[in-house]
């Protein structure tokens, strides 16, 4: 994974305008994480973990703001308006996965994020973009902390190192399944759009014709429905 990131980073971040878009995407991902952590804080049965999830959520809030601000700066430099507030939706991960699997999933996400951001920090350092480098370095430290505490909690909740590792493997499997479904949705979406376009072109003209003939849509008929029913 890290190798892939290393390979594509110089290319991806050099596409004009893409950097701002990517950073905004990161801001939305952080916002999405925040929503899931808030749900975790509401639903966990342990006071200690509730506080930990809340602190983590507060970090994600800050990260989202930092990414969004940098994205807006880059857009402004390019003479464009920013993308607005980073808004995310949610899959209710905690509710669906349960606390143990949720922790395993978050741990993997944080670890992956840390490795990815290390590459980005180096990349921007080598390009002399100190502002963006500092942004990633600052967030990196938090990611490492999140990685640690989720790991500790995972061992605590599963009872052993061994069991925690099993959970991490299961989380990896679940993630693969989810990635597969996301890809499936994208492909299904394309196939569906294509099918619908064909349906539209074949079926719309005759239907539209009959429909226009058959329905009370003249001005007089519309007005009549206002005057009395």
């Amino acid at each position: 994974m890290t190798t892939l990131v290393r390979l594509v980073t110089p290319l991806v971040w050099r596409v004009p305008g893409h950097g701002a878009r990517k950073l905004f995407g990161f801001a939305r991902a952080e916002q999405g994480s925040r929503i899931d952590l808030l749900q975790a804080a509401r639903l966990t049965t342990s006071l200690g973990r509730r506080a930990q999830y809340l602190r983590h959520a507060a970090d994600e809030t800050r990260h989202a703001a930092l990414f969004a601000r940098r994205s807006t700066e880059l857009r402004t430099d390019a003479g464009k308006a920013g993308y607005g507030p980073p808004i995310a939706d949610t899959e209710d991960l905690f509710e669906r996965l349960g606390e143990v699997r949720f922790l395993a999933f978050v741990h993997r996400g944080e670890a992956r994020g840390r490795r990815q951001f290390e590459v980005y920090a180096q990349h921007f350092a080598s390009r002399g973009d100190v502002r963006t480098e500092q942004l990633f370095r600052g967030i990196l430290a938090d990611e490492a902390r999140h990685e640690d505490y989720t790991r500790t909690l995972l061992v605590e909740l599963t009872g052993s190192e061994e069991a925690a590792r099993t959970e991490l493997r299961r989380a990896a499997l679940w993630e693969a399944w989810r990635t597969w479904r996301r890809a499936g949705r994208a492909i299904a979406g394309l196939v569906f759009a294509l099918a619908m376009s064909v349906v539209y072109l074949v079926a719309a003209p005759p239907t539209a014709l009959v429909s226009r003939l058959g329905r009370g849509r003249t001005r007089r008929q519309r007005r009549q429905r206002y005057l009395s029913l």
């Binding site: 804080a41 602190r55 464009k80 507030p85 719309a204 429905r225 206002y226 029913l229």
Partner: protein, 566 residues
């Protein structure tokens, strides 16, 4: 006697409302629990929360009522996209995806996820649900009802006669001729997000001069009796669902404003956009006035109820109250689509023979905050925690000193306004407080005002015309002649005031304490949420907010929580 759950959702701002034996027991928007702003997904969290609050099992429900007829909606979407062949080629697959993948199966999903018999799940017409949500919780036995929004199944505007338990439709205007879509189209043109930025357009309007009347007269033609039609060639709605307006509109009004560009009303460019907003607001008000006068003429009643997204336009509501020929006007707090859940539930209950609910006295229909849980969690987070027997005096003192205090007490509100259960409070006379609120927490555009809350018995002194049937729910505006209240006074000299009685006990006590200390029972009251987030629901959300925002204190019921001791 029955238990009925009303549901709105799948388009925008989903909600659930529970009516038991003719009483509105709970009403909750899904976004408050899922923390996803304007969450459109079917509101299962909200539904479960309503049931849990009432101590009911889903199996005990006699009826689950959806706020819209799915087949009628599919039919309208199909016909309206097909009729503009071939312009709707790109829109068609997307529209079908959302109809067929999701909306068509709504009633099955409700039955399955809630665990109720499918035969108990029914649906009512969208605008009837809106009308019911206003009339049946209003203080009026008889009233004219006006429902105005973007579009339901196919209706965009409805005139109703409401009498006792009966709602009789008198007339309707159908999609695509829609005041809501006109407002939405221009909201998008002005660079704001549709279904979210309409408030901003209303705030911006006060900064402009309505000098585009001739241009807007080309977009919408209104008959003296309120009937109107849009010139569809200006609206992209039919061909491009994202924009809501077409290139011809830019030809008429000039180029659209790029979204999210910072505002500077001292520039000619932005002033022009403010003038367009002002004209749109004026045209909206005049159209609503014509509709309302017609509703008065046809019913002969002296009270008006208003519902639908357009009824959230507090400035227009104030004009309706003054000029439409009614003695009284009522708009319930969740006038938008969320409110459809309440209307659906009440319609179900009436059909099962239950009595009409009494007038709504409070919007606190959500879940209560838990002070003990807040204390424990705040302690764990290392905050300073202090319980007080006289918390309202403490709050008033701190506010008068210029502090910003977040309040989380009792059950959270129904609808988009914070009304003293989940509110951020500050000194209404202190421009610094407002400046700090905006910079550190709300990050609003400079033209968006903050609102005051005032004791109802003293309201007339500060806000002539208040209180009326709308001021308890902040669905109207009043003049604010006293310039000392700079932090809550809009540029046009009005304020979106909330009048407070003992029905909102905590805020009432705080305002009494403010009166004792400063002589004025008035406070700046803004919703308790971060920028772009839903209003706080639980004490956990409130503490998460405190972690991330520089407020001076958080109060959960009678507990004061601060970041530092002192």
């Amino acid at each position: 006697m029955s238990a009925v759950l009303g549901i709105s959702g799948t388009y925008h701002d989903a909600a659930a409302a529970l009516v038991v034996d003719g009483h509105v027991v709970a009403a909750i928007q899904e976004e408050r629990l899922s923390r996803h702003k304007n969450d459109p997904r079917l509101p299962f969290h909200a539904a479960e929360a309503c049931l849990a609050y009432a101590g009911l099992a889903a199996a005990a429900l006699d009826r689950v009522v959806f706020y819209e007829q799915p087949f009628d909606k599919l039919e309208r979407v199909l016909v309206s996209t097909l009729e503009v062949f071939p312009r709707s080629l790109r829109q068609f697959p997307r529209a079908m995806a959302s109809q067929l993948g999701d909306k068509l199966w709504v009633m099955d999903q409700l039955a399955e996820r809630l665990g109720v018999d499918r035969a108990k799940v029914t649906a009512v017409e969208h605008h009837r649900a809106h009308a019911a949500s206003a009339l049946f919780v209003s203080p009026y036995e008889r009233a004219a009802v006006l429902t105005v929004d973007g579009v339901g199944e196919s209706v965009s505007t409805g005139l109703w006669r409401g009498d006792g338990r009966e709602l009789t439709p008198l007339g309707r205007i159908e999609y695509p001729h829609s005041l809501g879509l006109l407002y939405a189209g221009l909201t998008a043109y002005l660079g704001f997000e549709v279904n979210e930025g309409e408030y901003k357009v209303m705030g911006l309007a006060a900064y402009g001069e309505p000098r585009f009347r001739d241009e807007l007269a080309k977009l919408i033609r209104v008959e003296p009796d309120g009937w109107f039609e849009l010139d569809l060639s200006y609206f992209g709605k039919l061909a491009n669902a994202d924009l809501g307006f077409g290139p011809k509109l830019e030809g008429l009004l000039g180029p659209r404003r790029p979204p999210y560009a910072p505002w500077d009303l001292s520039t000619e460019r932005d002033q022009r956009y403010a003038d367009i907003a002002a004209t749109l607001q004026l045209v909206t008000e005049e159209t609503l006035l014509a509709l309302a006068r017609e509703a008065q003429r046809r019913t002969g009643f002296d009270a008006l109820c208003l519902a639908g997204g357009v009824a959230l336009n507090a400035v227009a509501n104030a004009r309706l109250a003054k000029e439409a020929g009614f003695r009284r006007v009522f708009v319930q707090p969740a006038a938008g689509d969320a409110g459809g859940a309440l209307g659906a539930a009440i319609l179900g209950a009436l059909e099962l023979g239950d009595p009409r609910p009494g007038p709504l006295t409070t919007a606190a229909l959500g879940l209560p905050a838990d002070a003990a849980a807040a204390m424990a969690l705040a302690g764990e987070l290392g905050f300073s925690v202090k319980r007080s027997d006289d918390i309202h005096t403490v709050i008033a003192e701190r506010i008068t000193r210029g502090e910003i205090i977040a309040l989380c007490t009792g059950r959270f509100e129904w609808g988009p306004r914070a009304l003293g259960q989940r509110s951020i409070l500050a000194d209404p006379r202190d421009p610094d407080s407002r400046e700090r609120l905006n910079r550190a927490i709300k990050r609003r555009e400079p033209f968006r005002p903050f609102a005051p809350a005032v004791l109802a018995d003293a309201a007339a002194r500060y806000f002539p015309g208040a209180p009326d049937d709308m001021t308890p729910f902040m669905t109207t505006v009043c003049p604010c002649p006293d310039q000392a209240f700079a932090a809550v006074r809009h540029v046009d000299g009005t304020a979106r005031v909330q009048t407070v009685t003992t029905a909102t006990p905590a805020l009432y006590a705080i305002l009494e304490a403010m009166r004792a200390q400063s002589g004025h029972p008035v406070v700046l009251n803004t919703s308790f949420n971060g920028a772009g987030e839903p209003i706080i629901a639980s004490e956990v959300d409130a503490l998460a907010f405190l972690l991330s925002h520089p407020i001076d204190g958080l109060v959960v019921d009678d507990v004061l929580i601060t970041k530092r001791p002192g």
